[in-house]
């Protein structure tokens, strides 16, 4: 089926199998491999994106459900040479080990800080409860959230 969606500010069309997920459409049809494909059951958060401004797992959205809607992926966060403050913070504190969970976590953290610029630790833990890091780098990730929150509040 033909799916037309506004992806990162641009109207794009993809001819996908009707049963395909939005994640498959982004990665395999639209050349946007930033959202990672891991569990395919909404457990790991590696494919976190925004659909009409809401944080979702792209693997649980049927591609057709994104028709005529707005999709925003991790690729939209940085502008060429300039990283998003959340990306900067992840780099600076070393919140990246193998890096597979990183794009999903960065999207989830950016979503959190948009909704709540000063989250306390329980709020951060709850907001990131749907993102798994198999390298167990959670402490550094929490540090990165604190740093990003400070920087974004200061701007």
């Amino acid at each position: 089926m033909l799916v037309r969606a506004n992806v990162n500010g641009e109207w794009r069309t993809a001819d996908v199998w009707a049963g395909a997920s939005l994640l498959h459409m982004l990665r395999e049809h639209l050349g946007l491999p930033g959202s990672k494909n891991a569990c395919e059951q909404g457990e790991c958060g590696s494919c976190s994106i925004w659909l009409d401004g809401e944080l979702v797992c792209a693997c649980l959205v049927l591609a057709g459900q994104a028709h005529e809607r707005e999709v925003r992926t991790v690729e939209a966060l940085s502008a060429r040479e300039t990283l998003h403050p959340v990306q900067e913070a992840f780099l600076e504190v070393g919140a990246v080990q193998c890096g597979f969970c990183t794009p999903g976590l960065i999207v989830a953290v950016a979503d959190l800080l948009m909704l709540d610029p000063s989250p306390d630790e329980p709020a951060v833990r709850e907001a990131l409860s749907g993102n798994l890091c198999r390298c167990t780098g959670y402490q550094k990730i929490l540090d990165a959230v604190r740093l990003a929150a400070e920087r974004m509040r200061a701007r």
Binding site: E40, G42, G64, Q65, A108, G130
Partner: protein, 293 residues
């Protein structure tokens, strides 16, 4: 395989009338997993996530109607007065899942572990079903949920939402699982205390083929409160032996099985613990409400 994207409820119902095999998809948190793992290949799916009629909730004459497409995130944000429902919604998955998952999905999947279902059972909700041509009917929750992953909607019907009478009194939802997030309940319990009708309603999830109520425990709590003269006294509580017996009676209503998430014995034990806690919390809530008013 084919996907249709109706814009209105009537369009969606006409699709269901013409092709009753069409499988509705809303948040996709259940159905997409089956698709991704090739466990299911429906010939036709209908996207119900854009139907405005399913995305609304409203109060009407002492009742509330909750559209099948209202997500758990919206319930938490927009329906704070329904404490057990909000508590149950907060235990669903993760933020990503709560942004997509709906009460209609819990009803359509009809798993005994659906987190909103014990709340609907404790609210004595009815499930509103719609078919083409303006046909509507409502089924009490226990006539709708007929077995594990089985419900009573006809093939040409869609789940419009749930409706229940608003009651005055405390209530809670609690759930046992290995983590605070992303957990399918091992056991769950919703208790609602109806001060107006002087009634208790207790519903159990994940401990039977479908959601179960605990009528003997409910009647016991009503009698125990009456015997203690506690209905008129918001500071009253029940004795530890009475709480104990309440827990045992709730556990007796469970019909659990052993499975990968837990044993039947553990689940029964968990029901007793959750029940005692829920009743104690209800008394605490009454006390703090009476202090503040």
């Amino acid at each position: 395989m084919e996907v249709l994207l109706p814009r209105t409820l009537e369009e969606a119902l006409e699709i269901k009338a013409a092709r009753p095999e069409a499988v509705p998809i809303a948040g996709g948190t259940d159905l997409m997993v089956e698709l991704n793992f090739d466990r299911r290949r429906p010939a036709l799916m209908v996207d119900v996530s854009r139907l405005p009629e399913l995305r609304e909730w409203r109060r009407e004459n002492g009742t509330v109607f909750l559209g099948a497409g209202v997500t758990f995130t919206r319930i938490i944000r927009e329906l704070p007065e329904f404490v057990p429902l909000v508590q149950a919604s907060r235990t669903v998955g993760s933020p990503q899942i709560r942004n997509r998952g709906t009460v209609g999905g819990n009803l359509g999947t009809a798993s005994p572990a659906g987190d909103a279902l014990p709340v609907l059972a404790a609210y004595d909700a009815e499930i509103v079903l719609a078919a083409a041509g303006g046909r509507r009917r409502a089924l009490p929750w226990h006539q709708f949920l007929v077995g594990p992953k089985r419900h009573a909607a006809a093939p040409d019907e869609l789940i419009l939402g749930a409706r229940w009478g608003i009651v005055r009194g405390p209530g809670s939802f609690s759930k046992v699982g290995p983590r605070n997030a992303m957990v399918i309940a091992v056991a769950s319990l919703c208790l609602v205390m109806d001060e107006g009708a002087r009634a208790f309603r207790v519903a159990l999830g994940s401990v039977g083929p479908t959601i179960l109520r605990a009528p003997e425990a409910e009647a016991f709590a009503v009698r125990a409160l009456a015997d203690a003269g506690a209905w008129d006294d918001p500071r009253a509580s029940l004795s530890p032996p009475a709480l104990q017996e309440f827990g045992e009676r709730v556990a007796a209503a469970a019909r659990p099985i052993d499975d990968v998430r837990g044993t039947a014995a553990y689940r029964r034990h968990a029901c007793a613990v959750l029940a005692r806690r829920a009743l104690a919390w209800a008394f605490e809530d009454r006390r703090s409400t009476s202090r503040s008013s």
